[in-house]
């Protein structure tokens, strides 16, 4: 080896050039490996081809329970996931179900009771995910001047509810919880937007409804109003529902929907105040009107085993109420569409399958 540069030893410069080349090659290789590692280890959103957006129609109730869907719309998460979502706003879950039944939308958001009643009527629907679980949402607002001071005093009274909604099921569970025979009260079917007025005008002795309508009813009645909450009676799930055939035919659409909702969930966790303000703006209500019930809302995209238990309890109630003929509780497992959430985030599925 020529270790010293000399006239007869041209290898000295060649050797140092070769060494420099080797060192820079090594550096380049290291940078490539580093870049690849960073690319490999960095979480990133799936690429979206704007020209191939898939159209989805969603019936979206203007209620805070559907907050994750509203945030996903506000933040553009659906578009990010490659969905061209058109929203059909509705007042509440039962109206959303009506849109779905008429095939005016592909997906609808609603309370568990609404789904259950449709399923019991043999409608081929399936739940893609629950987007909210809440235990202290519904409440009974009663008039003191009708001799009501405690839940037991509701026996024999006229109580306004929206039939076929979570409000009606809550009232049933509430009465049972307080050992009042449900048959001892007279139920009056009221549209959600009629409830506060009916109570204030004395058309009913009490109403049972969800927030923020319960707060509206209490405010409309003033000091005469008495509000009974009951966290142990019923935990409601707010569900994302579609025709089973539609979900099975469009698995990728369902997955993209759920991904967008998971993004919304993360946003809500990271920016709770901003999310609340966005929801208030979309629902056209004051932030403070939402705040009382907001803290108890558990916004989480998931499918729990307990949802089946709740739906089965509701099925027994529906039979007792006469919504469907009495009989054995049907197997509701096929009405849970697990595949999409299993594909997107399997840890969110605790349904035994």
């Amino acid at each position: 080896m020529c270790s010293e540069p000399a006239p007869g030893c041209a290898g000295g410069h060649m050797h140092s050039r070769a060494l420099a080349l080797w060192v820079w090659s090594l550096v380049a290789a290291l940078l490539v490996v580093l870049g690849a590692a960073v690319y490999w280890l960095t979480p990133r959103a799936d690429g979206v081809d704007a020209s191939r957006l898939e159209r989805v129609r969603i019936a979206l109730p203007t209620v805070p329970h559907a907050a994750l869907l509203h945030i996903a719309v506000e933040q553009g998460y659906f578009a990010q996931q490659g969905l061209d979502v058109s929203i059909v706003p509705v007042t509440h879950g039962r109206a959303a179900m009506e849109q779905l039944r008429q095939a005016k939308v592909d997906i609808a958001a609603m309370a568990d009771v609404v789904l259950l009643l449709s399923v019991l009527r043999a409608e081929p629907l399936a739940v893609a995910a629950s987007v909210l679980n809440v235990g202290n949402d519904n409440a009974v607002v009663a008039r003191r001047d009708r001799g009501i001071a405690a839940p037991r005093d509701l026996a024999g009274k006229r109580i306004g509810v929206s039939f076929g909604t979570s409000g009606e099921y809550f009232l049933w569970a509430f009465l049972v919880r307080h050992r009042v025979a449900p048959e001892s009260v007279t139920l009056v079917d009221l549209a959600p937007n009629q409830i506060a007025q009916a109570l204030a005008q004395g058309g009913v002795d009490a109403v049972a409804t969800w927030s923020p309508l319960s707060a509206d009813a209490q405010a409309a009645l003033g000091p005469q109003a008495l509000l009974f909450g009951e966290a142990d009676a019923y935990r409601m799930d707010f569900l994302l529902v579609g025709a089973r055939a539609y979900l099975q035919a469009h698995p990728l659409v369902a997955q993209k929907l759920l991904r967008a909702l998971l993004q919304a969930e993360q946003y809500l966790l990271a920016q709770p105040q901003a999310a609340l303000e966005q929801i208030a703006r979309r629902l056209n209500v004051e932030v403070r009107a939402l705040q009382p019930g907001w803290a108890s809302f558990n916004f989480r995209v998931e499918l729990r085993q307990s949802l089946l238990v709740t739906l089965e309890d509701q099925a027994r109630w529906a039979m007792a109420r006469g919504y469907v003929p009495d009989g054995p509780v049907p197997n509701l497992l096929p009405n849970l569409y697990l595949d999409a959430l299993l594909a997107v985030q399997p840890s969110r599925v605790s349904v035994v399958h």
Partner: protein, 480 residues
Amino acid sequence: MNIRTKNWLATGAALGAIGLIALGIGWSSLEVADASRQRRQTTEILQHYTELRLVSFDYLQNRSERARAQWYAVSGHIDALIAANHFLEPEHATIVAALRARRAAAPRIFAELTAARGQDFASAASRQRFEAQLVSRLLIDQQDSLADAFALTGLANRRIERAQARVVLVMIAGLGSLALILAALSWLIHRHMLVPIIRLQEVARDVAAGNLNRHLGLPGDDEIAALSRDFDTMTQSLRESFARLESNNRDLTALNQELEAFAYSVSHDLRAPLRSLEGFSLALLEDHADQLDDDGRDALARIRAAGQRMGGLIDDLLRLSRVTSVELDIASVDLSALAREVAAEIDRDGAAHAVQWVVEPGLRVMADRSLMRIALQNLMYNAWKFTHGVARPLVRVGMSLHEGRAAFHVADNGAGFDMAYAGRLFGAFQRLHGEQLFPGTGIGLAIVRRIIHRHGGEVWAQASPGAGATFSFQLEGVNP
């Protein structure tokens, strides 16, 4: 920027990168430890919820006091576990809050369920609905709590995986940074140190080979640039010194040639009148001796003796001059053989005074043989001469070590001399003894010193009056 600063910067950058790696790994390890603690906690929660479901079904089936007590015991474990606040991330905290809310309701519901047995209801259906609702509530809460505990375990696992992935990323990034720093350092060393040093080596080699006109001229303000400037200043000084030396050499050579010519011409020019003096004094002695009285003849004899002595002096001068000018022919010389040869010659010419010669065998030296013969001749002749009158004259030629190097000597047991006059010893025509006692011109030791100096060596003497003298010399590059 100088090399020291660059070195500090590079070292600092490398240590910084290592520190960041250590911090990254340390941070991730802490996160892994924390997430592992969370996982252990959630695993325990899961285990206790499983037990709770077991004893709940047991109680609902058998309504036994033992199952009721177990329900409360395991509930206490769960409450203690959930109370520990190890879950600070928003998603974890939300799940834990839901768990705590359910745990707050569970004892109330269970107590109502256990109490319902002894209470009156409006109807059997009312009791059945009430109990079914509570049982359903308990089961739902337990299922949800199990799901939440699983979710917490999953989140803890994800944290661990993320932290581990971060360690890998930190390691790769850190190693990459270190590689970049090393490459930069290597480049800096190569460009700012290695290349200049190679050039310095190249130029130094040329300068060592005699090319003093090489100029380094490295740019910059670092230590190597300063060294380059010093080196160029040094070569400049060397060039100037060499120029002065060459000039002096030229002057000296000219002077030597002049001196040699002068000595030659003086010798030749002096010989002519000396020959006339010799010739005419001889003719006067041969042709007119009868006309001279004894005093005249004695004066004439003295004139002739003085002329002959002057002839000897001129011969000695010529010899000294030749010794100075003759070209050296360096070869391996057997000094022992040469000494024996010279001793034999002296014995032959001076048989009246016999000395004992002791020559150490195997003496060898790299020198000009003919000049070394002259030097030995002078030294050994002196020794022979100054042992006149000694009962057992002895002359030794040998070798000893002087300051770690071989020194040759010629030692005798003759008259010796006083070392106070040693400084005059090697001067031309210097004598320490009267000519009547020891005849000679006093040029011999001057010739010896000239020969030894021409060989790059040194000659010196050690003696004391009446105890003999030792003349030693060393030649350049001669070692034992």
